[in-house]
């Protein structure tokens, strides 16, 4: 297939929607050895900057497809923010970060750059065929695949048969509608106008929020810097204002000007993009429907406050791609895909809970919340104890509690907060290539982290390195030593970060999934190749309905 001029009649995976989630899913699937066709209704990358805050977890996922350098070169990294009530600072928050970290807790970058990087990454795999202006009209599920009708850019009708369809076609998903599936949940009334403007600035990159500012009394305003001298400005629209009126430049620009004047940003500026938004907490009950899988906004819509929209969509792609690749390659049973739904629906429920909390503060849904916010903002002037109420609760990776893939601990007990179903903690390490990070080992296949200072692999672990599997099924054994020299299979925890974070003792073994989540861990005599193989077999081949 590749860039063949004609459309294929059959594909292993059809991705409907070439936005950031669809293109990232395609790039991951391509990397894992799966051919995909991507159909996008629009003629190119998105217009307007849309999602702009990329979490550390999302940066890791984009790192797996090789977009890391482009992302870091273009994006603006930040660690915290400030909130003001009237003219006074009432909160200064910082997200966890440490020296020489691989990724900042957040970077700001326009969504169209993410789409460009993911697009380029997908093409680099040589397995992804991306077609613009190709609009899906009909989706017909069959027992062992899906038939999809679409219209090409030239207006011709075509049909493609796919073993699997991944629906990444956004909040108004055609695939979802074709399958007769409904989002469940609720919407908030409070609306925000979103404006991007171009203006030179030297201001620090932070999340800035103003409640009831002198520039726009009664309103709430958010500001974020983006690359290319672009400001994102969000402000709350009064209840009585009409949506169509609210986005008219003659109503938007004076409010922006007043605020820029207030904060002393005096360079000339011009508007680039204006939109309007209200918070939604909506999700499908199941992200798998036979041979169709839903990801990103097609599966769920969460409030923007806390930046869980695109970030959760990229996590969907990261969770789904390796599972779908293993199933398509016959290395895992179809039920592995049910764990995608279980894990990501759980993540959405948590994202919605946090997003709803943020929304209750940013766009109070009734007079109870409006009155309490008035009280909290005033109290925050004098009482630091309540300032956490103003914190935007930025996105964090979700723990897959009770996932069918989680393996119970084996051997002596582990201390600390880490468990199977949580993201593998980061650590700075010395590698054969020099200073490096633990998370850079992840994202390609399974990784067994073997914490040991003995360079000789015990016989009970040797089978792990003797019969290498191809593709994403590969299991790479990496020894984490406390001292000594790195080699092809050894990294050195010279700063003593990895051992304590994994509560490791000599011989401790961790199995990390291709998406960087801890799958299981073993201590002492329990740490054997047989233990790992059994865990993998159980997760990939034997996850039956009962365990769902």
């Amino acid at each position: 297939m590749r860039s063949a001029p004609s459309f294929p009649d059959e594909v292993p995976v059809l991705i409907v929607g070439g936005g950031p989630v669809g293109l990232s899913a395609a790039a991951l699937l391509g990397r894992y050895g799966i051919d995909c066709l991507v159909l996008e209704a629009d003629p190119s990358w998105c217009e307007g900057s849309r999602a702009i805050c990329i979490s550390r977890r999302s940066q890791e996922i984009l790192g797996w497809i090789g977009a890391e350098q482009a992302l870091l070169a273009k994006g603006l990294s930040w660690v915290g923010g400030r909130s003001y009530f009237r003219g006074t600072e009432v909160l200064h928050f910082e997200m966890p970060s440490e020296r020489a970290q691989r990724f900042a807790p957040m970077i700001n970058i326009q969504q169209y750059y993410i789409e460009q990087f993911a697009h380029a990454a997908a093409l680099r795999t040589g397995r992804v065929d991306i077609r613009w202006s190709a609009r899906v009209s009909t989706v017909r599920p069959q027992s062992s695949g899906v038939q999809v009708d679409f219209q090409t850019a030239e207006g011709r009708g075509r049909t493609v048969r796919a073993d699997w369809v991944v629906a990444c076609d956004g909040g108004r998903s055609t695939v979802r509608e074709q399958l007769g599936l409904q989002l469940e949940g609720m919407q908030y009334e409070g609306r925000y106008v979103i404006v991007d403007i171009e203006q030179d600035t030297r201001r620090e990159v932070e999340r800035l929020a103003w409640f009831d500012p002198p520039s726009n009394p009664g309103s709430t305003i958010l500001m974020h810097r983006q690359p290319d001298n672009v400001w994102r400005i969000d402000y709350q629209v009064a209840e009585h204002e009409d949506a169509a009126q609210a986005v008219k430049p003659e109503n938007v620009l004076p409010r922006v000007q007043a605020h820029l004047d207030m904060i002393g940003e005096t360079e000339p500026w011009k508007p680039l993009w204006i939109s309007i938004y209200n918070a939604k907490c909506l999700t499908l009950a199941d992200y798998r429907s036979g041979r169709v899988l839903f990801a990103g906004d097609a599966a769920h819509l969460v409030p923007i406050f806390g930046v869980r929209g695109l970030n959760s969509g990229l996590d969907d792609a990261g969770n789904l791609a390796w599972k779908l690749a293993l199933v398509q390659q016959g290395r895992a049973g179809e039920t592995l895909l049910d764990s995608y739904s279980v894990e990501r629906v759980l993540a959405t429920r948590e994202n919605i809970a946090y997003g709803a909390k943020s929304t209750q503060f940013m766009a109070p849904p009734h007079r109870g919340f409006a009155l309490m916010r008035e009280a909290a903002l005033r109290l925050a002037l004098e009482s630091p104890g309540v300032r956490s109420l103003i914190n935007p609760r930025q996105t964090l990776p979700v723990e897959y509690v009770d996932s069918p893939l989680n393996e119970p601990d084996s051997g002596a007990a582990f201390r600390g907060d880490l468990r199977a179903g949580m993201p593998a903690p980061e650590a700075r390490l010395r590698t054969l290539q020099g200073a490096g990070h633990l998370t850079a080992l992840l994202g390609g296949g399974f990784v067994a982290l073997y914490f040991s200072d003995s360079p000789h692999l015990p016989a009970s672990l040797r089978p792990l390195v003797e019969r290498p599997q191809p593709g994403v099924a590969a299991l790479r054994l990496v020894r984490v030593a406390t001292h000594g020299e790195p080699d092809e299979r050894t990294v050195v925890d010279e700063r003593n970060q990895a051992w304590p974070r994994y509560d490791a003792a000599e011989g401790t073994l961790y199995l990390i999934r291709p998406d960087g989540y801890v799958m299981g861990r073993w201590r002492g005599a329990a740490a054997t190749a047989a233990g790992i193989s059994q865990a993998l077999r159980r997760a990939l081949l034997e996850t039956d309905d009962e365990q769902r």
């Binding site: 209750q360 109070p364 009734h366 007079r367 109870g368 009155l371 005033r378 004098e382």
Partner: protein, 59 residues
């Protein structure tokens, strides 16, 4: 209280205000305030809270 506790209390108070309705909100908050103030160690401490709230309400 940790921040999650404060968060839960904030949300519950907001929902209670909505439940008692606009006409009874003042009464509800005054009852709550008197209940909490009566648990202070002494009148001095209670008066400090009253003055602080009065000052902040005027902002």
């Amino acid at each position: 209280m940790n921040s999650a506790d404060i968060d839960a209390v904030y949300t519950e108070l907001a929902e209670s205000i909505a439940r008692v309705g606009e006409a009874k909100t003042h009464l509800f908050l005054a009852t709550l305030a008197l209940d909490l103030l009566s648990r202070q160690a002494n009148a001095e401490a209670a008066l400090e809270y009253i003055l602080k709230a009065e000052r902040l309400a005027k902002i």
